[in-house]
């Protein structure tokens, strides 16, 4: 490895990209499950578990990303720089987006484990924050990422954002056209049960 004095700087960049890839994968799976686009191809419990696990892995690599930045001597971040939005000496707004994305991701991932306690409705509301986490991560990567101007990284961001956008639009369209009532094998109460439509919806 060349210039191994900067190993942590390289490792941090790689961990950030890996984390974003895992977050993208998790968001795609979550949206795919909620739109049932994988039905017939993949088991829903499998999709849910992989969705959950990949979001945790994304967080783990986010910790590696930040830990490597602390060990790195190229920029010399402090813990406060990495945890408090706006303190970063390097592109503070973009780094702040990443920090907020970290907190949002952590809340969403943590909500998997308190779902029974907070109730499905609240869990679902919290889970919508994953869209914000993805957007914040994208903004952070685009505007703070050292590799962002490269062609391969731009295509990666474009691919990730396009896939998520497609699934979000698809989900909204299906919701708008009343797809819930047309699902086979399920009966939908016509009135009187406010929770009936949410008990099977998804992540």
């Amino acid at each position: 490895m060349t210039a191994d004095t900067h190993f942590w700087w390289y490792a941090s960049r790689a961990a950030g990209i890996t984390s974003f890839a895992l977050l993208t994968f998790s968001v795609w799976l979550g949206l795919g499950a909620s739109t049932r686009i994988f039905d017939g191809l993949l088991d829903r419990p499998w999709v849910y578990e992989v969705h959950k696990f990949s979001s945790l892995l994304a967080l783990a690599f986010l910790v590696v990303h930040m830990g490597a930045l602390l060990l790195d001597r190229y920029i010399s971040y402090t813990v406060a720089d990495l945890l408090i939005p706006g303190l970063s000496p390097y592109r503070p707004a973009a780094v702040a987006a990443g920090i907020l994305g970290l907190y949002t991701s952590a809340i969403v991932a943590g909500s998997f484990y308190v779902r029974a306690r907070i109730g499905y409705g609240m869990w679902r509301v919290v889970h919508y924050a994953s869209f914000a986490a993805f957007a914040l991560a994208l903004v952070h990567g685009l505007f703070a990422g050292t590799d962002s101007p490269t062609v391969w990284m731009r295509w990666s961001y474009w691919f990730a954002a396009t896939g998520a956008s497609y699934l979000i639009i698809y989900r909204l369209l299906r919701l708008a056209t009343g797809w819930r009532s047309r699902r086979p094998g399920r009966t939908r109460p016509q009135e009187g049960s406010a929770h009936a439509g949410s008990a099977h919806a998804v992540s």
Binding site: A14, L22, E49, V50, Y90
Partner: protein, 92 residues
Amino acid sequence: MGESRKKRTTRYPTTKFVLLNASFLTFAALTAFISTRGLPGGTATAAPQRDQPAITAGTSAATPQSRSIAPQANPAPARRAARVPVARSRGS
């Protein structure tokens, strides 16, 4: 037997194992790839800009090594340079 009814603590362990390993392999491959590209400087990559390498602000030990890597741009703005000696002394 009770063995077959053993409580499963993890669902889809093989899938998770594969995903975990794929992630680490991706991370390792990316680290190797990025290290071959080196530090951003005169290239098209976005270089964090700073006039002086952080490690050289306040110390001199690492300066020759850092300088020998490349005539690279250095990442943080000038106000960081003023903070570095404090951080250095705290760390060491």
